[in-house]
Structures are given as structure tokens and as C-alpha cells.
């Protein structure tokens, strides 16, 4: 294969996005002033806003899939997040929402601060400080931080929570739920598919119980039953950049750097590539696995908060089918479901392809049933274009053509199967 071909294969993901974008421009209806509606800043901002929830979940899903796992529970976890968020915002006092969220926030603060101080002390402190002293210091710092955060949260309970309150408390709930899945997966060596499937069912039940038997939907009317500041989370910065989109892009950027630059990121790839080898080479596989599921849960609940901001409600069926959308975006983005191969930028592209496709179909007023068919075809096409599948397809076609040709006209050997170690 020539250099041009190689280049196209390596960048095909971006070409897909560019082709789709061009299709959007060409097919877009034009406004009476002659403006291409698809290209208006308002429309592009809208696409970014619409994909941001799915995108944030897909960032966490990418981490999980890179380790060779899967997280089917995201839909239910997001639903729980929306319910807890809406209740914290609108119901004063100790409701089932705050009873869950406040202790989890305190616990998460304690663990994170103690771990962070402990790690910092290990790397930076002079060797004269003994290990027990470091441990006491870390635990002490954790207790102090947890007490401070706890006091801050408990003060908000009798009234209702503010924006920072829900942005801290709701992801903490997701982190706990995700960590729970992670612990079970890591310690019992059960299949992630089964464990997160069980969590998907169980957490949906928890979300419904928290919401209450006789309330299917918790409406959030900012400025009436909830703080007006909450509107900031759906605002357009400079009238163009939607805040949910900002969260999504920030999540992509942060976890792109984490994957490419940190030891943790390298461990994620190593575990997905060959878990046994990673274990034998001394990586604490269990801890990394627990971390990726916890991060997935945390990001999912963050998306839950943004869901409440955009759609002004929290409800137990909010995340229905979300796991499939998130997995589809990750797979379109070129991440291998077997783990070890893929990138965060790929997921960004996958999420955008999905979003632009929906937007283009909607702008052209294609009916809802046809939209579903086209989306299914796009997923198939994207997976087909993935390196391995493409190579098999090309090789088969080539060998069939070859078998028809006389022996003298046949060309070279079958292409060598090169194991790809590239991650992007």
C-alpha cells in the first residue's frame, strides 16, 4: 500500500467527520437571507450542546473500554444523578436525595484528600519523616477536609443546594457507585459485562426509590423552586459556547492528557493490551480498574447535573439507552472493544460524527424512523472501516480477484498482518 493510502487509513476517522460535515453544508436548507443554516454558529453550538451529555459519558466509557471492560450501568447512573440533583436543588431538608448525597460527598472527600496528601508526602517529603507519621498526616488531612466539606454540605441541606453544591455532591454519588462496580469487578474477577448489567438494573431501582413512588418527574424551575444560578450551567458563553459543551471539551482534554502523559494512562493501555502481562510486571491492576469505573460513574453523574440544567427535570428514565449511544460513539471513534487500543480524540470525533449526523437528518426533516436506520448504517460503516476489519475485507477481495486472473498476472504476497501497537 502506498504512502498516500497509509496516510488516508491513519486519518480516516477525521475524513469521515470532514465528509459528513461537507454533506451537512451541501444539504443544508438556506435561510431567506441566503445563510447556510447548518453553518450558522447557533446551529454548530447546538450540536455541541446536544452531544455534550453523551460525550461526557463516552469519555468515561473510553477509559473503561481501554482496559478491556465495559460499563452498561451508565444510563441508570445518569438517571440516579438527575434525580439526586433535582431533589437537592428543589427539596429542602433531609430528603432521600440528600441522605444519599451528603455522606457520599464526605466519604469521597476523605478518601481523595487522604490519598492525595499521602501520595504527595511519599514523593516530596524528606526521608526523615517516618512512614507512620506520613500516614497519620494523610489521614488527618483527610479528616479535616471531610469535616470542612461535610459542614459546608450540611449547612446547605435545610434550604436547598446551590450550583457548586450539586456539582460536588452529585458526581460524588456517581464516583461511589462506579467504585462499587469497580471493586466487584477487580476483586471477584467477574465479567464487567455481567457486573455492570446487574448495576444497570439495581441502580435503576435505586433511582426510582429515591425519586419516590408517586413522583415520576422532579421538575426544576430555576428562579422558582431552585436557585436561579443553576441557569449558568446551560448558558451560552459569549452567546456561542454552550457551558455543557465546555464541560465536555474539558473532560476530553483532561483525560487525553491523562492517557498520553501519566503513568495511570499507560497502565490503562497496558491492562487493556494484556492484563496478565500487566499484572506480572507489577502494575496494581485492581486499583486501576476500580479507578476507571469510579471515573466513569463520576463523569456520568456530572452529565446528569448538566442534563437537569438543560432539560429542567430529573427522572428515573432519563438515561434510557444511554449506554448504547456512548458505546457506539466510542466504537465509531476507533477504540477497540477488546481494549488496549484507542484514544480520547477518537471518542471526540465519534461523538461529533454521531451528533452531526443527527443534526443533518433533523435539519433535512428526515422522519424519525428513517433516522434510526441511517444511524445504524453509520455505526456499521464506522466499525467496518476500523483497521483490522478493513484489512481483512481488502485482503479477501484481492484474493478473490487474484484467483480469477491467470497465474502470470497475479501480484505480490498477501499483506503481512502487522500487530498494531499504535494507540491513536
Amino acid at each position: 500500500m502506498g504512502k498516500v493510502g497509509q496516510f488516508f487509513l491513519r486519518t480516516k476517522l477525521y475524513w469521515g467527520l470532514i465528509v459528513l460535515f461537507a454533506a451537512g453544508v451541501v444539504s443544508s436548507p438556506v435561510s431567506s437571507k441566503g445563510v447556510n443554516i447548518f453553518l450558522t454558529p447557533g446551529n454548530l453550538a447546538d450540536v455541541l450542546r446536544q452531544v455534550s451529555n453523551n460525550g461526557i459519558v463516552a469519555v468515561g466509557m473510553t477509559l473503561v473500554i481501554l482496559t478491556g471492560g465495559i460499563d452498561l450501568s451508565v444510563g441508570s447512573v445518569l438517571a440516579l444523578g438527575t434525580v439526586v440533583c433535582a431533589m437537592l436543588l428543589t427539596d429542602p431538608g433531609w430528603t432521600s436525595g440528600s441522605v444519599i448525597a451528603v455522606p457520599m460527598l464526605i466519604g469521597v472527600t476523605f478518601v481523595l484528600v487522604a490519598w492525595f496528601v499521602g501520595a504527595a508526602a511519599r514523593t516530596m517529603a524528606s526521608p526523615t519523616i517516618s512512614q507512620p507519621l506520613r500516614r497519620t498526616g494523610a489521614l488527618g488531612a483527610g479528616v479535616v477536609a471531610a469535616a470542612l466539606v461535610g459542614a459546608w454540605a450540611v449547612v446547605q441541606v435545610p434550604a436547598t443546594f446551590g450550583v457548586l453544591g450539586v456539582l460536588a455532591a452529585v458526581p460524588a454519588v456517581g464516583l461511589c457507585v462506579g467504585a462499587f462496580s469497580g471493586v466487584i469487578i477487580a476483586k471477584t474477577r467477574m465479567q464487567p459485562f455481567i457486573v455492570t448489567l446487574a448495576m444497570m438494573v439495581g441502580i435503576l431501582g435505586v433511582a426510582r426509590l429515591v425519586a419516590g413512588q408517586d413522583t415520576a418527574v422532579h421538575p426544576v424551575y430555576t428562579g422558582e423552586n431552585a436557585t436561579a444560578d443553576f441557569e449558568d450551567l446551560r448558558a451560552l458563553i459569549y452567546r456561542i459556547l454552550p457551558v455543557p459543551g465546555l464541560f465536555f471539551l474539558a473532560a476530553v482534554a483532561i483525560f487525553h492528557i491523562v492517557l498520553k502523559r501519566s503513568t495511570f494512562g499507560r497502565y490503562v493501555y497496558a491492562i487493556g493490551g494484556n492484563e496478565q502481562a500487566a499484572r506480572l510486571s507489577g502494575i496494581n491492576v485492581d486499583r486501576v480498574k476500580i479507578a476507571v469505573y469510579a471515573l466513569s460513574g463520576m463523569l456520568t453523574c456530572l452529565a446528569g447535573v448538566l442534563y437537569v440544567a438543560q432539560y429542567r427535570q430529573g427522572k428515573p428514565d432519563a438515561g434510557l439507552g444511554l449506554e448504547l449511544d456512548a458505546i457506539a460513539a466510542v466504537v465509531i471513534g476507533g477504540t477497540n472493544l477488546m481494549g488496549g487500543k484507542g484514544s480520547m480524540i477518537g471518542t471526540l470525533v465519534g461523538v461529533l460524527i454521531f451528533g452531526f449526523l443527527g443534526n443533518i437528518l433533523q435539519l433535512n426533516n428526515i422522519d424519525s424512523n428513517t433516522q434510526l436506520v441511517l444511524k445504524g448504517l453509520i455505526i456499521l460503516a464506522a466499525v467496518l472501516l476500523q483497521e483490522g476489519n478493513m484489512r481483512v475485507l481488502v485482503w479477501r477481495a484481492a484474493s478473490r480477484v487474484k484467483s480469477w486472473l491467470p497465474a502470470s498476472a497475479r501480484w505480490g504476497e498477501r499483506p503481512r498482518e502487522k500487530p498494531s501497537t499504535r494507540s491513536g
Binding site: 436548507p29 435561510s31 431567506s32 443554516i37 450558522t40 447557533g42 446551529n43 447546538d46 446536544q50 431538608g93 433531609w94 430528603t95 432521600s96 441522605v99 444519599i100 426510582r208 426509590l209 429515591v210 413512588q213 408517586d214 413522583t215 415520576a216 418527574v217 421538575p219 446551560r234 442534563y307 438543560q310 432539560y311 429542567r312 427535570q313 427522572k315 428515573p316 428514565d317 432519563a318 443534526n359 433533523q362 435539519l363 426533516n365 428526515i366 422522519d367 424519525s368 424512523n369
Partner: protein, 319 residues
């Protein structure tokens, strides 16, 4: 409140939900009505159940057992089979879909249990009674109202966005057909979207409307097949700063949703889709007392707009 919440979250959760269905076996009530509800997470269904429970509490001789089909046909079939085994005095059912639940309704009739079908019908006439609203009538009421809003019969003009419920569900088609019986007669009315479904969901309607607002510079009226979708469309228009340019019509008229939004002036009108639960309890009582009941009861609709929304909210203790 606090204690109740803690209880709800504790180990009690598992226990109560496990034992709730069996408790009536030991109760002293004279009549046991089993009601198989399709789901309990939709606002309309919540209202349905709440009204039904309120009605049942008026009669001390009645024990009402409600099961939740969790929006799955097979779960609902199992629920009904469970009621048949328990030998309830009357079976009430609001089926997920017609075909899948017909067999088990016939099974109940074979077991000599009277059956009242609520809201959606089954594919047999072997039941005692059907109670439901008529979605075509509701669609017509909305269509007539829309024509009036856009200039009146014969001279109505404007661009209409219709947001469909689930494409595969009968209510969506009925609400569409009834509406268009009126609007299609008006040459001045233009339909902007072609079968755009938001699957009854507020958040999906928001996204459909956000795009429709980009693609269409002039929208005069939005018709959502239910109130949450009409409200989602309103929110999208509001976020685009264009909500004052258009009217929003919804369907269902649940007090704390549609009626409240109409009262705030966010929706222009909603059309009541009555819940058949309370009537079902009254009719079931007639059946156990040996009275004959009509084969079919159609509950009337009602137009709810600025003129009566506040009154309805007061009646429901919400204002």
C-alpha cells in the same frame, strides 16, 4: 419525613417490595381488585394510580392491589397470571400493547374473573368493560383550537410544528389524525415537519425543536402529542428567545404539569386525556355487586386554557 426516607433507603426497601403483593392475602377486605399497570414512571401513569388509590380508599370493603409491569409485556403478563392465581375478584388492566396481553385477559375470563380494560384495548371482545379516553376526539379538539388561534375557520394561516409521540403507538397516530381533520382543511396552514418523533419525552422534544427553530424562521404554532413535549419545545424556543412568537398546545392536562404550565402562560392550552382509574374502581364495585355494566365507557376530554387552569389547580390543591 426524615425517618420515612431513611426507612425507604434501608434494608426495608427489599422487604416491603417483596412482601407487598402477598400482604392482601391476609387482609380483611371483602373485595380484592387486582390492577395491572403497565409502568409507574410516567407522570400520566402516576396520576392514574394516585386517582385510583384515592377512589379505592373511599370504600373500606375494597382492597386495591397495583402491580407495575415496568413497561415490559412479559412482566405484565406474569403480573396478570399472578392475579389469576390469587383469584382476585375483579381484574383491571391497562395493557402495554393490545396483541401481547390479549391471551392473558382471555385466561382470566376463563378463570371466571371479570376483566375491566383501561386506556388501551385488547384484541378480543371477551372482557366485561373497556374504559378509556378517545385520542381522536382529543386530537380534533386540539385541531379545532389551533384553527381558531391561527385566524379561524376558512382564513386560518400559519406554520405548524407537530411533535409526535412514539411512532409505533396508537395514541400518537390518533392525536395526529384528529388534529389534521381540522388543520388540513385550511389551505393557509403549513406543516413544517414530517413525522418528527420525540418519543413522548420532554428532553427529546427540546432537541427536535432546537433544530426546527434553526431551520425555520417563522413558526406560529407547536402541537406536542403530550404536555411534556410541548413544554420541552417551549423551553427550546425560550432559550432561543423566540417563545413569544408562537403558541404551544399540549395534550394530557395533568394538574402539576400541563395545567400548571398553562396557568403560567407557557403553554397556550392543553387537552385533558382523562385517567380511567377512578371510574374503573367504581365500575368494578358494580360488577362485584352483580350489576350489569356497559361494554364501553368513553371518558370526555376538556380544553384547559387560561380561562380555567387556575380553577383546576385550586381543585387539586396546587394553588
Amino acid at each position: 419525613m426524615k425517618r420515612r426516607t431513611v426507612l425507604k433507603l434501608g434494608a426495608g426497601v427489599a422487604a416491603t417490595s417483596l412482601f407487598a403483593p402477598t400482604r392482601p392475602l391476609f387482609a380483611a377486605a371483602k373485595y380484592r381488585f387486582g390492577f395491572s399497570q403497565v409502568t409507574t414512571v410516567e407522570p400520566w401513569r402516576v396520576q392514574f394510580n394516585a386517582a385510583m388509590k384515592r377512589e379505592a380508599e373511599k370504600y373500606p370493603e375494597v382492597e386495591l392491589i397495583i402491580s407495575d409491569g415496568q413497561d415490559r409485556t412479559e412482566k405484565q403478563v406474569a403480573d396478570v397470571e399472578n392475579f389469576i392465581t390469587q383469584q382476585v375478584d375483579v381484574l383491571l388492566i391497562s395493557p402495554k400493547e393490545s396483541a401481547g396481553l390479549t391471551g392473558v385477559v382471555e385466561k382470566a375470563i376463563d378463570a371466571k374473573i371479570p376483566v375491566i380494560v383501561l386506556d388501551r384495548n385488547v384484541d378480543t371482545d371477551r372482557y366485561n368493560q373497556f374504559i378509556g379516553g378517545d385520542n381522536v376526539v382529543i386530537g380534533k379538539a386540539a385541531g379545532e383550537y389551533a384553527v381558531k388561534l391561527l385566524g379561524g375557520s376558512g382564513k386560518a394561516a400559519g406554520n405548524v410544528v407537530e411533535i409526535w409521540g412514539g411512532m409505533g403507538t396508537q395514541p400518537a397516530h390518533d392525536r395526529h389524525d384528529g388534529f389534521h381533520e381540522f388543520t388540513d382543511k385550511e389551505p393557509g396552514i403549513k406543516n413544517l415537519l414530517d413525522k418528527q418523533s420525540a418519543d413522548w419525552k420532554q428532553q427529546k422534544a427540546y432537541d427536535v425543536m432546537a433544530t426546527a427553530l434553526k431551520a425555520n424562521e417563522k413558526i406560529d404554532l407547536v402541537y406536542g402529542h403530550n404536555d411534556p413535549m410541548a413544554y420541552g419545545a417551549y423551553l427550546a424556543a425560550k432559550d432561543a428567545g423566540r417563545e413569544k412568537e408562537m403558541k404551544f398546545l399540549g395534550v394530557d392536562g395533568i394538574p402539576n404539569e400541563g395545567v400548571a404550565w398553562v396557568n403560567k402562560g407557557e403553554l397556550t392550552a392543553t387537552f385533558l386525556y382523562p385517567t380511567p382509574g377512578a371510574e374503573g374502581v367504581r365500575q368494578a364495585l358494580k360488577i362485584v355487586k352483580g350489576e350489569t355494566v356497559e361494554k364501553k365507557i368513553t371518558l370526555p376530554t376538556m380544553t384547559i386554557d387560561a380561562s380555567n387552569a387556575a380553577q383546576i389547580l385550586k381543585e387539586n390543591g396546587l394553588l
